[in-house]
Symmetry: C2
Subunit: 330 residues, 2 copies
DNA sequence: TTGTAGGCGTTATCAA
DNA sequence: TTGATAACGCCTACAA
């Protein structure tokens, strides 16, 4: 390996002081054109790269952002996070940041990790996913003045931190309209148990679209935990009623796959899932796809803005619209 | 935020020199019990944590390892990497390392990233996934003396670097035996186009197991690109022969899902996939599951051993056996 | 067993 | 516009 070039090496090579080299890098406008050109040539010639640890010691900034990688869900999920992480890493890289992963068993463990990451590595910021009602993590970070952004709205709390989210209601509404356009009049919704947050939001999109079409959603919504078996069970329950639904909109692909089983893959009883997972692709399930790369890009945008202390007038929240991926059942 | 405690603060608080604090941390045996206890109490009281940047400047080690996150596959795949990354992060953390992500469009771009990561951040090591035939990345890393480990054997090259892999042939062999035990005698294999590596290995497991049972595999193997549609196509092709197969073993879940479509989900024509993806769970596909958490743990084990320069007699390669996840078709 | 001195590579401050 | 000096927090060598 070649000897590492330092700012001193470069300075000597270009016959200037170390400080001038530093200025070329961090405040180019202070340096005369001719000098700058000479220094840049030396940097190129020596293959110099600023040492991040030394820079960090001086500036207190690591150019590292952290994101949690969750224990991948057992079944249908997964790959959603994959895509988000990939987008995050790519955008962060072009913004000059690297992405550090961490895991945590629960919120308390996560806060302990914050403390370590901040104290030892001087992390510049955090991206939080799957925020939930009464999330103590956001409170801790805000309290300690740590830059962060969440992928997910702060449901039910008045907290005003930057966030990026996908309009779930718009997604289920699009799915519902798709079914209405195909002539369906009895459109059911399979959801998660009620509670403020993602589940209620997605249900609302179905509900208001059905109502707007002059139809009555009463008795057409059942809820269950997020498993395929539960989805099949509640779909069968609805199908066994005197006036059964002819189509299903679901809060997740898990429940949707269950519904597809319940309908026996019948093309006349279409099902629409949410998240466009691999399972949806496998069985030809129409599903709502979140724009995860855009969401990741938005997170980095907002986060770097906070890190750089830019309290400009730009919006601190981004709500993205998902897209319906239409497939034929197989 | 509380004032950051440094080694100097702690020294003052415990009425010792900075060096003694450093010794307590890095060479505890040099310090008298009573002194050590006092210093540790001060560390606790002040919430001191060693600053990683300063330590790194002195030692040249970042306690950071890098792993690439790939553009998630379009369809069936994904989540495989998710699980691996989670395991990697968790194990690395207990070994005192943090995991940094990076992306790269191709091998050349990846090597450029190595250069940046090494020069700027002084990364301690790399975990490479999806190595391929004639991989230039491993050559570059070896040449530059950078510690690395691959998840995947160095197919077709004699390179001797540490690696962890999953015995694909054992997986397809287990699947084939499962079908033999159920009485099947015409067991087909749907594979990827021939070439040294993962695909050939998985095919070999099927081939040798069929032969060992005294059966003839001739004409029962077709290959195609890794898509559901291609899987369906070649499965139909085999089913249309005079003496069609009664069961399928597949190199991937993608091809397996296609085969399931071709058989019309018939329980009498079972299909076995590979990777136990979300798609397999969705349609009740029996599939070979890789022990990804163990693989990740093995990677960290081997990598830290290289980083620490422990050239002990312990094996530098780990081959793990996958497990058949048996499901009823739905 | 404990303390002192020096330096890792960078940037901020200030003087020339 | 450029350069000298100090400091960030830690660890290694060496001295006491």
């Amino acid at each position: 390996m070649v000897d590492k070039a330092t700012i001193t090496t470069v300075a000597r090579h270009a016959s200037v002081s170390r400080q001038t080299v530093s200025n070329v890098l961090n405040a180019p406008h202070l340096v005369r054109d001719e000098t700058r050109a000479r220094v840049l040539a030396s940097i190129e010639a020596l293959g110099y790269r600023a040492n991040q640890a030394a820079r960090q010691m001086r500036t207190g900034r690591s150019r590292l952002i952290a994101v949690r990688i969750e224990r991948a869900y057992d079944g249908i999920h997964g790959s959603v996070l994959d895509l988000f992480l990939h987008g995050l890493t790519e955008t962060a890289s072009t913004a000059g940041y690297r992405t550090v992963l961490y895991t945590a068993a629960d919120d308390a463990g996560e806060i302990a990790t914050y403390e370590d990451l901040l104290a030892s590595y001087e992390l510049d910021g955090f991206v939080l996913t799957s925020t939930h009602h009464g999330d103590v993590r956001t409170a801790w970070l805000a309290e300690h003045g740590v830059p962060f952004v969440t992928f997910g709205r702060p449901w039910g709390s008045a907290a005003t931190h930057p966030w990026v989210d996908v309009d779930g209601a718009a997604g289920t509404a699009a799915g519902t309209r798709h079914l209405l356009a195909a002539g369906h009049r009895r459109i059911a919704f399979l959801g998660w148990p009620e509670g403020p947050g993602v589940g209620d939001d997605r249900r609302a999109g179905w509900h208001r679209t059905v109502r707007a079409a002059g139809l009555d959603p009463a008795g057409l919504c059942l809820t269950a935990p997020d498993t395929v078996d539960d989805g099949e069970r509640i779909a069968r329950e609805l199908l066994a009623t005197p006036d059964p639904p002819t189509a299903f909109v679901c809060v997740s692909d898990s429940l949707a796959v269950g519904a597809v089983r319940a309908t026996g893959h019948s093309p006349t009883r279409p099902v629409i899932g949410f998240d466009d997972t691999a399972a949806a692709a496998a069985i030809g399930l129409t599903s709502v796809r979140q724009p995860l790369a855009e969401a990741a890009g938005g997170c980095i945008d907002l986060l770097t803005r906070v890190i750089d202390g830019k309290r400009d007038g730009l919006p601190q929240q981004i709500l993205l619209t998902p897209r319906l991926v239409i497939r034929d059942p197989r």
